[in-house]
Symmetry: C2
Subunit: 235 residues, 2 copies
Amino acid sequence: MKQLLIASTSTIHGSGYLDYLLEDLKVFFKSCKTILFIPYARPGGISHDAYTEKAREAFRKINMDLKGIHEFESAAEAINQAEGIFTGGGNTFVLLNHLYKNKCIEALQDAISSGIPYLGTSAGSNICGLTINTTNDMPIVYPPSFKALAFVPFNINPHYLDPIPDTKHMGETRETRIKEFHAYNSFPVIGLREGSWLEVTDKTIILKGVLDARIFEYGKEPYEIKTETTLQHLK
Amino acid sequence: MKQLLIASTSTIHGSGYLDYLLEDLKVFFKSCKTILFIPYARPGGISHDAYTEKAREAFRKINMDLKGIHEFESAAEAINQAEGIFTGGGNTFVLLNHLYKNKCIEALQDAISSGIPYLGTSAGSNICGLTINTTNDMPIVYPPSFKALAFVPFNINPHYLDPIPDTKHMGETRETRIKEFHAYNSFPVIGLREGSWLEVTDKTIILKGVLDARIFEYGKEPYEIKTETTLQHLK
């Protein structure tokens, strides 16, 4: 039975790394002693070791141990043996590129199909969608494909940002960008605001957290959904 | 003799399309009767025709005609015969993908080497750099490569945005993103604020407009340069 927690961000304004999620993670990972951490997205270019240490500190608060995937000889084998998996945020292109390079895509899909609980934040959530075509990140490396893990039948836009009123900056709003995506792709996109997450249990997908999310479906006006809304209709 | 005008944006806050550049464009394109317009970046997903009409209206103010590249049977041939070229903004991935698909890369490089004046705004400026690894755009299509036209020996970051003070949004700042780029790439990046442009004449590159620009060189702290600074040292 598939079990996923797909979060917009690791950190909400004014609190520590993963703090707002820790109570839920205690329940979500209840069957696990050790979590496998995938630090490939390297936020700010930090090392795999430093990033793993950061995640380890957060999980220590809920008495769970954590091991970095780079500490294993074979990344795919580490995934095969994992009790639970957490992929942290950073750069989505770097993350996906590394997953392809280290032959992790199929291993992750198999693990999640077999019921291993998976937590993603930000870039780690982006890769749960069909493709990374709706990431906000800068394309600092060229991955062999934009196809992602397809754990859910739509795309994610984490850190969803509403238009800033009275801005003088002429860059596109997030909504404009996602509408442009629909000039070339037809699958739905969910804009997850910081503090929201999706809880996936088997075929059930529920919006969690206190905020609304914004849904973009091909050929429709974007619309808001409330927390606790189920999302099975999106595909 | 290479002649380029590489602008951060087509439009500055509170004025019309290209308005802030028109006086300079009159001089820059003085040898041209008709400008070839490349509308491939399709901002907001608009059609090539609609986008070309928008650009045509702006050039009409300085008594120049403009023809869309999509109106020709062969895009490469259109470039070969052009008197002057303007590539408008929109989505950089869509633009570069279309340039590859229509075999325009080499044709553009040849035209610019032979002295045909080229204006780029936003996405049309991004492609003047070595790669599109520093675009701000959403990767809504997968181009065959991120390699760009390499008219200048560094990368461009148009619509450069300073960190927003007191924001509660946890997404990366532009500076953080460009620093992450330097974890994987070593060539310089110029952050061009809206209203700035680069004027390239043969081997001379000068920052124009009233604003400073921000330079990111591998292994150095980012620094500001004043308008009228020359940039030949960047490579």
